[in-house]
Symmetry: C2
Subunit: 337 residues, 2 copies
């Protein structure tokens, strides 16, 4: 039984803003972060919801992040917008570059945005969803900290490296997915560690490279990628495209920089935006063929990605309220003191 | 014990050319196809090697493919080259558009090529490897025939939908991967069916949606995606980007068009090319950071993707000869009559 506190979405936003502004974030950063945190809470993504306020403040207190950094946008090439986050959080940098990314995608058909030197905690689905809202398809990816061994390996090297994609569905909930390329989330192993329960088979190895279901041994060893050598290859692609390609850190470089303080990771992010209207002369007809594909998925009893999240969103929007554990609420209020 | 016939690479090319030209392919198509078939044989990818001559000729004899089609290249948008293969095989269309794709990637930083209305049998690694040889990173993907159920579903809807990626490694074997988003290759299930041996757990379901290790039941039912809902999401992305986005067929539309004759599938393909020199001012330094990542993979005893294929390539190039089963050789020679 967990005691809960219910609050309206606007109360959640106001508290988030107050916590962030009261702990060293500029108004601009606080608004960008509070928006995404409240969007995640609305969709009942608790790990990226109001809980993250604690992590943001903890990271700020380490002194490594610049809470007032002003991101700088560079029109780097006809198909590339580059945003230097200047050691601030990624979200203000994302917002700063987004309209240029969209414009370039509409002009060229395809364009990329590189966000550099950013502290990054957020899920990628809100970012690609913004592209879908603008009628664009989008991909997003970033490294994290080196917690994952490559397939066939025995030591941490890759990040949990999320990969997200969105396809616009005008008048409907967009087709969006966002998954970690690790077999499970690191937070899931940490929860098992605290509860003293075993983790699943085939998601981690111990310090000697042997399979383990002991969460402590897994945290001291390495997580494994999802899907064997295929997931591992995908994770390496993400390291390359959101790391060396854009002149930013790999997951092992980011982990080394962190130096064990366990703050929000600093690294880069790559987004790719694609305009379906530029690819064919009949985007509406072909969009209907995509709808037929989605309908065929649902008709056979399978779920579309994000379906559960959209159901949560509808629930929240019907009441206008979100709920969080009272203990978390108290921890957040303590940051207002 | 399989009896083998050994031949030089140039003999393999000449035989391929003669078979294709003798069975309705124009010189241009025959050269493009023979090159890729011999590259695959060189790398000991037997399923995409000389064996494919039999499939190409069988498909040609159905009358659905135009062996003399002249692909038409359209400068569709600043970041998009579109090639209409006009119901010919994909490879001549690829070659026709490749220089424009590279030029657009170098100008803009990122660009896409849509190949439309093509019959497609080839592995994608030779295509992204060509981009890497030109100093570009590349992605390629295409649908196939609807043999794969979405995660949580019970009926075939998605293709085996390959996804390939290359990263240029100047002076070295490029970082290349190319994997099907199905848990295993369809050919592997067919081999088990012929041998009467069971398939692995969790790679297929029967006609009623229940897990099966019976290859016959799997072929009548559906294959499963690799990596559960994550691989399934990736496969859906490929359907969308190499299907409706470019105005071409999804895997289930392609299968319906085939009408059970089991020829090479007709559909589209999407390639994305990225120029690392356009993303940072220090591409060489960042390329060295990518090398450090590759070295860290190998140092812990893991393999880089394609490592086995590159080893086969080195073996073949050291002797200059490839070997194929005598029975296959005889079947190929019969096509010369």
């Amino acid at each position: 039984m967990t005691e809960l506190v219910s609050m309206s979405l606007s109360e959640a936003f106001d508290i988030s803003l107050a916590v962030l502004e009261g702990n060293g974030f500029s108004r601009d950063h606080a608004e960008a972060i509070a928006t995404v945190i409240c969007d995640a809470q609305r969709d009942e993504c608790h790990s990226h919801g109001l809980y993250r306020l604690l992590v943001c403040v903890r990271t700020m207190k380490t002194g490594i992040v610049d809470g007032k950094a002003k991101p700088e946008v560079f029109d780097h090439a006809p198909g590339i917008v580059r945003v230097d986050a200047k050691k601030g959080y990624s979200l203000l940098a994302l917002n700063a570059g987004l309209s240029s990314l969209m414009e370039k995608a509409r002009n060229n058909g395809i364009a990329a945005m590189a966000i550099q030197n950013c502290f990054h905690f957020s899920a990628l689905w809100p970012e690609v969803e913004k592209l879908a809202e603008a009628g664009l398809a989008g991909l997003a990816m970033n490294p994290s900290h080196s917690w994952v061994a490559p397939a066939g390996g025995r030591a941490p090297l890759l990040g949990t490296n999320p990969f997200a994609f969105a396809w616009p569905r005008p008048g409907s909930e967009h087709f969006v997915f966002d998954f970690a390329t690790s077999a499970v989330a690191r937070g899931e192993i940490e929860l098992h560690s605290r509860a003293g329960t075993p983790i699943s088979q085939s998601v981690a190895i111990d310090r000697n490279g042997n399979p383990t279901t002991d969460p402590g041994a897994a945290l001291a060893g390495a997580m494994l990628p999802f899907g064997g050598h295929k997931g591992s290859a995908l994770s390496l692609m993400i390291e390359l495209l959101a790391g060396p390609l854009i002149g930013d850190l790999t997951s092992s470089e980011s982990k080394a920089l962190d130096g064990g303080i366990d703050a929000t990771p600093m690294h880069g992010e790559l987004l790719i935006a694609i305009d379906p209207k530029r690819f064919t002369d009949e985007p509406v007809r072909h969009s209907e063929r995509a709808e037929a594909l989605f309908n065929a998925v649902v008709a056979q009893g399978a779920r579309l990605p994000s379906q559960r999240r959209y159901e949560a969103r509808r629930r929240t929007l019907s009441t206008g309220h979100v709920s969080i554990p009272t203990a978390l609420y108290n921890d957040i209020c303590a940051l207002l003191a």
